[in-house]
């Protein structure tokens, strides 16, 4: 397609929609409109209609001008590793990775709730159903998603961003209930595969966050607690939907591992799994495991809150600069939000408000390649502070940040940019989380009551 035709497509889209993304004269943008147009554009132009199989999966990267898959590998946003992107090494990025699009899928469901139009939810359902039924390794049951894998929509096969096809979670997966409704067999196979092919030793719970996708071969290695918590969450849902006790045993083994690992050689205790996924699982599993999970989570709270305060006092956490494995201050606030949705905790409340204060009047530092995720978490942090205190300063700042984010990332296009210093669409930097934050802002600014999923999964 020629450049002129590509531009024409975008303009046609603008004309058909009948309104620009940003209002003229600095008026407050219509945040719901921005998100609807983003999702509608993805539904019309951003789904897999390529290669032998038209899977309908959302592409995780697109050319924002032509609204087509890439024929090249665009420059990565700052802080993104090349092996984590949705494409084969050094090749065009043509991947669909539902984990990095997870908040886009959650938005689809919410848009159906808000508008009553079922086609948004239908697109998400189609993605989940197809992916679970087709992108699973026949050998391991693991899925071609997460930190290093994707589904190549042109070649129609699982691909890895690096040299090895490794399964690793990118985020906790919050859509298991829907997955078990849509594809119960495949969902159960994945949960079982996670136990049999990600965990190297089912007695000690030893694992590595990386596990071979195509063939059995789990290792005892980098057992990052964060991943252990994601597994526990997954097995909690699996137990809920299957009542297979294997999943309770799996939870118990990983929990026991980190109960041991929490105590250091010198007797000091360190935080490990974090409380969020444990509480999620605790609400689904029977006693006494549920109580054990909750007790573990409570101990984590005692360790985590002082640690966050210590980091804040040292000024060790950046406000805006995001990178692989390095979140911003607002990401810590979103952890607090997640936990405050589960329990009351004055320390987390104090931290959240302190971070919200830090973002009042704040904007990205000079020359930082800021991600949409940084704005997303700052907006959601301000909104959480507003919900807690009803102080207008937080709602005002949320509005300002949301408006700024629309101007910076959407500009005059229907899809957001991957970062301030790149021009393409790529969800690994949290375009989906930013859109979720815009919906949250829309609801708060208009006093609407529809529940927006908690923007706390980027952790």
């Amino acid at each position: 397609m020629t450049r002129i035709r590509q531009v024409a497509v975008v303009w046609l889209l603008l004309l058909l929609d009948g309104r620009p993304v940003c209002c003229a004269g600095g008026e407050e943008p219509d945040f719901l409109g921005v998100v609807q147009r983003y999702v509608q554009t993805m539904i019309e132009h951003g789904r897999d209609t390529y290669g032998p199989q038209r899977s309908g999966l959302f592409l995780s990267a697109l050319d924002r001008t032509s609204l087509k898959p890439f024929t090249v590998r665009p420059t990565p946003p700052g802080g993104i590793r090349r092996e984590d992107r949705p494409g084969r090494p050094w090749s065009a990025m043509n991947g669909a990775n539902p984990q990095i699009d997870q908040n886009l899928l959650r938005i689809c469901y919410v848009l159906t709730d808000i508008t009553g139009d079922p086609h948004y939810a239908k697109a998400a359902d189609e993605e989940l159903t197809w992916f679970l039924n087709h992108a699973q390794s026949a050998a391991t049951g693991l899925l071609a998603w997460g930190e290093h894998m994707a589904w190549d929509v042109v070649l129609d096969q699982p691909i890895a961003g690096g040299n090895d096809a490794e399964h690793e979670f990118a985020r906790p997966w919050m859509l298991w209930d829907r997955c078990f409704q849509l594809a119960p067999g495949a969902s159960e196979r994945f949960a079982r595969g996670l136990w049999e092919h990600q965990i190297a030793d089912q007695k000690t719970g030893a694992f590595d966050r990386h596990a071979p996708y195509f063939a059995h071969g789990p290792r005892d290695g980098k057992d990052f607690p964060r991943h252990g918590a994601f597994y526990i969450g997954t097995w909690g849902y699996a137990w809920k939907h299957t009542q297979d006790e294997t999943f309770l045993r799996a939870i118990e083994v990983i929990l026991a591992r980190f109960e041991r690992k929490r105590i250091q050689k010198d007797g000091a205790r360190i935080a490990t799994l974090g409380p969020l996924d444990l509480e999620i699982a605790a609400r689904m599993v029977p006693e006494p495991l549920a109580a054990r999970l909750r007790a573990f989570g409570a101990s984590e709270d005692e360790l985590i809150a002082p640690e966050i305060k210590k980091q804040m006092a040292a000024g060790a956490v950046p406000q805006w600069r995001n990178a692989y494995s390095a979140g911003t201050l607002a990401s810590q606030a979103m952890f607090c939000v997640g936990r405050l949705e589960q329990i009351d905790n004055p320390s987390y409340r104090e931290i959240l408000l302190s971070i919200a204060d830090a973002y009042v009047g704040s904007r990205p530092e000079e020359d930082i390649d800021t991600w949409p995720l940084s704005f997303a978490q700052a907006i959601s942090c301000e909104l959480a502070a507003w919900r807690l205190t009803r102080r207008p300063v937080y709602l005002d700042q949320a509005r300002r940040l949301a408006q700024g984010a629309v101007e910076l990332f959407w500009q005059d296009g229907p899809l957001p940019r991957a970062s301030m210093q790149t021009g393409h669409y790529e969800t690994i930097t949290g375009a989906d989380s930013l859109a979720l934050a815009l919906l949250e802002a829309h609801m708060a600014l208009r006093g609407l009551k529809i529940t927006i999923p908690s923007n706390t999964i980027d952790r």
């Binding site: 420059t75 026949a138 195509f214 904007r363 000079e366 021009g423």
Partner: protein
């Protein structure tokens, strides 16, 4: 694990077979090769040569400062004074007129210092960073005027490594910034008192009238004596940036007063109809290249100072954006960015940027293009992207002809401009051009076996006043982009303004 039935074993075997088939399918797709990047070794060679041979071990004091000019063959200080690259004034070089070039000027070498910090991050070797730190610390603590606390660097001064003294000697030395200084945070880390003294000296000894902000870009180095005169907007931006960091590091309110004074001066200079700002007080001409530079520094400073000053600085930058983007920049033929024009009409007296003809006081299209990159990367106004791609396109098939004594700086800017267009559009033509320009630059400036780049196409010596450091930075940026490395971030190549 449950004991498997025979049927289960069969099913399991089939699944394994299917899995292996998938493996095989994945293997069928040919792997794309790692793209070649020959650029970084060249940069390391340059940096290593400077660390080994390019530091001051001459004279009574071995300061460790990087020499800003060298004999490329012998890798030693120049014993003579080679002809200046085209467009360079004799008085701006690191040697008194008619004397050998034996000076160190950290402002000329600023991108070399930034490069060294980047190379330490890339290589994990601290030697590069240590050398840069040594230069900054020594220079700040030893080279300043005891009277004004200004530093012998910039446009007209340097540290003579043979006699170990600031030059020109008393009473001639004149302090003038050559570039914005982006290393203040590191300076405050390494030598906080000296950095603060310089910042205060800039306020007390560069600014002639604190009430009006009147200044001259030239101020006596050796003794107090600022005058009201050539108050170029570009320099005001450099001062504002310096004071913004100084305030954020010291919380001394004097620095906020200094910023406020200069900002008010330039807010007041806008023409009531056109909004354009005079080149210097009383001039009928506006130079939008210089005011765009001021806008970059105002926006940068806004991140470091409190409200309401921050908002005022941003508003100033925003206004400059509107003005600059509204001008009829046209890159066809011999066109380029509009850089200066009649202040009152915003029409007559237009001069435009050339592609390759770099000279003192001039701005090439790539140079102005990099200012647009600075604004687009920070303010994200779509019009700047149009200008960036149009300027990048202007270099599409262009290389300097043999009559032009092109500078490494211009190639550095042209490469970084193409990379900015590539980052923001994902159109591979820009990456291809960046590579082609880099290859052309290497062929011109590293034509022989010397690890050091030549000062210009027609020069044989090394002299950083023409931007060898900027070219090296562009090559690092190119390397990082080719190999998609983001763990280390290249400093923005936007300080030559």
């Amino acid at each position: 694990m449950k004991k498997r039935s025979e049927a289960g074993i069969m099913r399991f075997s089939l699944l394994v077979l299917f899995g292996l088939t998938l493996c095989a399918r994945a293997a069928e797709v040919p792997k794309a090769p790692v793209p070649p990047s020959p650029y970084l070794p060249l940069v390391y060679r340059y940096a290593d040569a400077m660390l080994q041979h390019g530091r001051d071990t001459c004279g009574p004091q071995s300061t460790g400062l990087f020499l800003s000019a060298l004999d490329r063959g012998g890798l030693k200080p120049l014993a003579d004074r080679p002809p200046a690259p085209a467009g360079i004034r004799e008085g701006d070089r690191v040697g008194l007129t008619s004397e050998p070039l034996a000076g160190a000027n950290p402002q000329h070498d600023e991108n070399l210092l930034r490069l060294l910090y980047t190379l330490s991050e890339l290589s994990g070797k601290s030697g590069y960073r240590d050398a840069a730190d040594t230069e900054l610390k020594w220079f700040l603590q030893n080279a300043a005027s005891s009277s004004t606390h200004l530093l012998p660097w910039g446009e007209h001064m340097f540290w003579n490594v043979l006699v170990d003294a600031p030059q020109p000697p008393q009473p001639r030395g004149v302090h003038e910034f050559f570039r914005p200084w982006m290393l203040w945070d590191r300076c405050f880390d390494l030598a906080p008192e000296a950095s603060e003294r310089f910042s205060l000296g800039l306020w007390k000894h560069q600014i002639a009238d604190p009430a009006t902000g009147a200044f001259n870009r030239h101020a006596p180095f050796w003794t107090h004596g600022p005058v009201d005169g050539m108050d170029f907007p570009r320099h005001a931006g450099f001062y504002i940036r310096t004071w913004a960091v100084a305030w954020s590091r010291t919380k001394n309110p004097e620095f906020l007063r200094a910023i406020e004074s200069l900002l008010r001066r330039f807010e007041g200079k806008r023409h009531p109809q056109t909004g354009l700002i005079e080149l210097i007080s009383g001039s009928p001409t506006a130079h939008v290249g210089l005011t765009l530079s001021l806008a970059i520094d105002c926006d940068g400073a806004a991140h470091r100072v409190p409200e309401p000053l921050a908002s005022r600085l941003r508003a100033f930058a925003d206004r400059e954006d509107s003005i600059f983007c509204s001008l009829p920049h046209d890159f066809q033929g011999n066109g380029g960015f509009v850089v200066s024009l009649d202040k009152a009409s915003a029409k007559g007296g237009v001069t435009v940027s050339p592609l390759w003809d770099a000279r003192y006081g001039g701005m090439t299209t790539a140079q102005v293009g990099m200012m647009c990159v600075a604004r687009y990367d920070n303010a994200c106004k779509a019009k700047y992207l149009e200008l960036i791609t149009a300027a990048a396109d202007a270099y599409g098939n262009s290389l300097p002809d043999e009559s032009v004594d092109a500078w490494p700086m211009t190639f550095g800017h042209a490469i970084s401009l193409q990379l900015a267009a590539w980052r923001h559009t994902a159109r591979p033509v820009y990456m291809d051009r960046a590579r082609a320009l880099a290859d052309a630059a290497i062929a011109r400036f590293w034509a022989d076996n010397s690890p050091l780049p030549a000062a210009s196409v027609k020069s044989r010596h090394y002299e950083t006043i023409t931007g060898a450091d900027t070219l090296a930075l562009a090559l690092v940026e190119l390397h990082l982009q080719i190999l998609h490395i983001t763990a280390v971030r290249c400093p923005p190549n936007t300080i030559d303004r």
